[in-house]
Symmetry: D2
Subunit: 259 residues, 4 copies
C-alpha cells in the first residue's frame, strides 16, 4: 500500500469508464444540463430537472454584464498584451473577490443569520430581519446583495425568484431577502435585492454552503470572459488604452427569444 | 465625444435591462441551457435546442476526469496552501495549455486541413486523410486528439458523435476524424478518437473557429476545479504531499441516471 | 480636468525621464542593489547601504528551497503542460498563501503584539512573550515562524540576525522572537525560529507593515520559480507525473563562495 | 528505488543545510546581491561582482514605469476588488506577454540572427544588420526593442550600455543593437534602442538563452506590482474606475542619489 493514500468522492476512472459521483459520464451527456452537472459535482447527487433548470438559470444570469466589471477588464487587459485564452480567463477570475462576485456569499451569510435568529427566537423571519438590520446599521455594517449602481430593479432577481418558486424551493431565505428589501424601503432608501443577493438566497434554499457560492459566479462569468477576451483579440488593436466608459454596443438590436 | 471610443457586440446594459446579443437576460433565464448561452455569447445567435443540447453535452463531457490532470493538481496544490476559491481556479486554468486541453484546437486544425484538401483535390475525405497522415508520419508530426493513456475506447466519443448526428451536424469533419482513426487501424496501431478529438470535430461542424475551442474545455473543467478545490479544503490536511497515484475513490457506487 | 483624477506617489514619467520616488532610474542603476530598490518602492526613501544589504539578504534567503514547496510544484505543473514562463510564475505565486510564505506576516503580527504588550505593561519583552504564548497555548493557537519540517536549526535565521545586528536594526522584535524560542525550549519542545519568523522580526525592526511582508517572499521566490519552470521545460518530458519526493540533486557539489 | 526518480540541479536540501548550486545559502546572504543570486539560479555559476552589478542594474531598470503598463493595471484592477497581494501579482504577471515585456526576447532573437549572419558571411555586424533590416522591411516585420511611445531617448539604455562596458561585456550584440539604431536613423525615422532592446542585447552578451529573458522583466516588475497593489489598497476606494491617463504624481520631488 502506498503511504500517502487519500480519498476522493468526485470521479472514478477505469479503462473506458468515467463515472461522476457514480454515474457514467457518457450516460449523463445529452441527458442533463450544465446546472445539473455542477450540482452533481458539488453535492454528490443529481437534482431533479426543475432544480437543475434553476441552477442553470443562476449560471445564465451571471454569464456577462458588459465591459465594465473588473473581471472583464482583467481579461481584456491581458488579451491586449498577447496573452493566450487561458491566461486571460485566469487574470479575469483573479479579479472576482469579495467586492466583485463575493456579494453572493456575504449575502447568504446574512440571510442565514436572520433565519437562524428567527428559529432561535421563535419569531417571524421579518422580525429577525428588522432586528439584524438595525444592529448592522448601528455597527455601520453594510449588508451585501442589495442595491445596484445601474439597476433600480434588477430584472434578474424577479425571474430567479419566479423559477425558485416553480422549483418549489422558495422558502425562508427568499423570505428573509424580501424582508431586508422591505426594511430598506421602510427606511426611506429603497435598495432592491440585486442578482447577487437573489442568487445567495436561492443557493441557501438549495442547501449549498456559503464557501462554494462564489464558485457559481466564477464558473458563469468564465463564459463571458472567454467571449470578451476573444472580442478583444479580434476587434481591437493590441496594447490599447481600455476606457471602460467609452464602449458602445454595436451588436444585434433588441429581440425576443419567446417562441 | 470621448477619444477612446470602442465597440462591443456582446452585452448592452441599460437601467433595469441587460441584453446578451440583443436578448433580455431575464428572458433567457430558465429558457435556455448553458450550452446555448455559451454559443450565444461566442457566436451572437441562439442555437436551436438540439445544437444547444450538443454544446451542453460537450461541456458535460469535460467537467472532470479525476484527480490526475494537471489542472486539478494545480487547483488542489493552491487550495492546500490556503488559497481562496478563485485563486485555486486560476491556478488550475493556468495548467490548461497545448498539452492539456489543447488537443481540441490542434485536432480541429488537422481536420480542417484534411477537409480543405479534400475540397481542393476533389477527392473523398478519407483519401485526403490518408495523404495528410502519411505526410505527418514522414515529418514525425503527431496528430492530436487520438489515443488516450487510460481509455482504449473513449466512451465520451461515441456518445458525442451520436448527439451530433441527432442534431444534424455530423458531416465531413466527423468523417475526417473517423478516417484518421481508420488510418491508424490500418497501420496496425489503433489510436481511437479521444474526447478532445471528438470535441474538435464537432466544434468544426458547428463552425467555431479553432482559437476559441480551448475555451470550451476551460469553461467545462472550471466546474471540476471548483469541486476538487473544495474537496481538498474540506477533506485534506493543509500542505500535504499530493500523490496523484495514491487517490482512492470513495464516492457513490456505480448507478444509472436512466429513468 | 478629468473627472477621475487620482494620485500615485511611486513613479513619475516624463519624456526621457523616469523617476522612482523622485530619483532618476538611470542614476539608480548600477548604484543601488535590488533590496534598496524594493525598499525605495515600498517606503519612498532610499535605505542606507547596510539596510539595503539586509533587505537583499532577506530576498536571497528566500529565492529557493528545492522542489517540494507548493509554489514550485505549481510552477512546474504548469510548465509541464506547455505554459509560457509568465503563466508558470503566476501559477506558482498563487500557491503562496497563509500556509506557504504567509508565516512571515503572521509571525510579525504576533511579535508586534508581544512588543505592544511589553510597552503597555511596562515589562520586559520576555515576560510579555511568556504571557502571550501561554494564552496562545490555552486557545490552542499556534504561533507562526517557529520550527521547520526539515531543519532543527534554520541556518538562514542566524545569518539574518547577524546582518540585522550589523545594520543596527536588531531591537525588540528580534528580542521577542528569541523570547518565543526560549519559551518553547522551556516547554521542553524546542521550536527554533525559522527563516520566515526571522524575516518577520527583521521587517518589523525595519518598520514595514505586515500587509506587505508576504511581498518579500513572493518577489524572492519568483526568482526560484523562473529557474524551476525553465528546468522543467528543458530537462523533463511534458505531462509527466511530478513526484516531489523522487527528485535527486545532480548539480554542482558543495563549494564555498568565501574568497 | 522509486519509479519516478528525476533530477534537479538547482538546490539541495539537507537538515540545516540549504545549498543553491552548491553554495550554502546562509553564506551567500549578505555576500551577493540579488542580480548575482538570479544569475546563479539560472546559470549555475556565481558571476563576478561587475556582472552581478550589471544584472542587478537590469532588474533595477525594470522595476517600474508608472501606472500605465498593462501589468500594473492588471494588479491594481485585482487589488480594487479585494484580492490578496499574491493574486494581484499573479494578475499583473499574466499581462506580461509578447507585447509587454516580450520585446526583450524578440529583440534578442533578432540580434542573435544578425550576429550569426555576420559570422556566416564573414562581414561586419553593421552590414549584416543592414541586410537583415532590409529584409524585415520587405516582409513588413517590425523589429522589437526600438522606439518608445514616451521616450525619444531611453535614459536606461545609455546607462545599461555604460555598465556593460564597465563589466567588459559590451561586444557584438550591443554593436548589432547600435547598428540597427543607425539603420533607422539612415532611413530618416530615428527609433532609438529602448530599455527592452538594451536588456536583450546585454543578456545576449552574458550568454543567456532568449527563453528565460522574459523572466528578468517578470521578476523586476513584480517589485513594482507589489508597490502598486499596496498603493491601490491603501489610497483608493474599492471598485473604482481606474483611468490610467488621470493619474497625477504626488510623491517626492526630483532629487539625486549621488553622494
Amino acid at each position: 500500500m502506498r503511504e500517502n493514500t487519500w480519498k476522493t468522492a468526485i470521479t472514478s476512472i477505469a479503462p473506458n469508464e468515467i463515472r461522476l459521483r457514480g454515474y457514467r459520464i457518457d450516460e449523463l451527456m445529452g441527458r442533463i444540463d450544465f446546472g445539473q452537472a455542477l450540482y452533481l459535482l458539488l453535492r454528490g447527487e443529481l437534482p431533479d430537472e426543475k432544480v437543475g433548470r434553476l441552477v442553470t438559470a443562476i449560471l445564465v444570469s451571471s454569464v456577462d454584464h458588459g465591459v465594465t466589471p473588473p473581471s472583464v477588464l482583467g481579461a481584456r487587459n491581458a488579451a491586449s498584451t498577447g496573452a493566450p485564452l487561458n491566461a486571460c480567463v485566469a487574470a479575469g477570475v483573479l479579479a472576482i473577490n469579495r467586492l466583485h462576485g463575493g456579494a453572493i456569499e456575504d449575502c447568504a451569510r446574512s440571510l442565514t443569520e436572520i433565519v437562524r435568529r428567527a428559529d432561535a427566537w421563535g419569531c417571524p423571519v421579518a422580525d429577525a430581519a428588522d432586528q439584524t438590520l438595525g444592529e448592522y446599521k448601528q455597527q455601520k455594517v453594510r449588508i451585501a446583495g442589495f442595491g445596484h449602481r445601474v439597476h433600480t430593479t434588477d430584472p434578474r432577481t424577479a425571474r430567479l425568484f419566479e423559477l425558485a418558486a416553480d422549483a418549489g424551493v422558495s422558502g425562508r431565505y427568499v423570505e428573509a431577502a424580501r424582508a431586508v428589501e422591505a426594511w430598506f424601503a421602510k427606511q426611506g432608501k429603497p435598495l432592491p435585492i440585486n442578482v447577487d443577493g437573489a442568487i445567495g438566497a436561492v443557493l441557501c434554499e438549495l442547501g449549498f454552503e456559503p464557501e462554494v457560492m462564489n464558485g457559481f459566479f466564477i464558473l458563469a462569468r468564465t463564459a463571458g470572459l472567454i467571449a470578451h477576451a476573444r472580442e478583444e483579440m479580434t476587434r481591437e488593436r493590441p496594447m490599447r488604452k481600455i476606457d471602460q466608459d467609452a464602449a458602445e454596443y454595436d451588436g444585434p438590436p433588441p429581440r425576443t427569444a419567446r417562441s
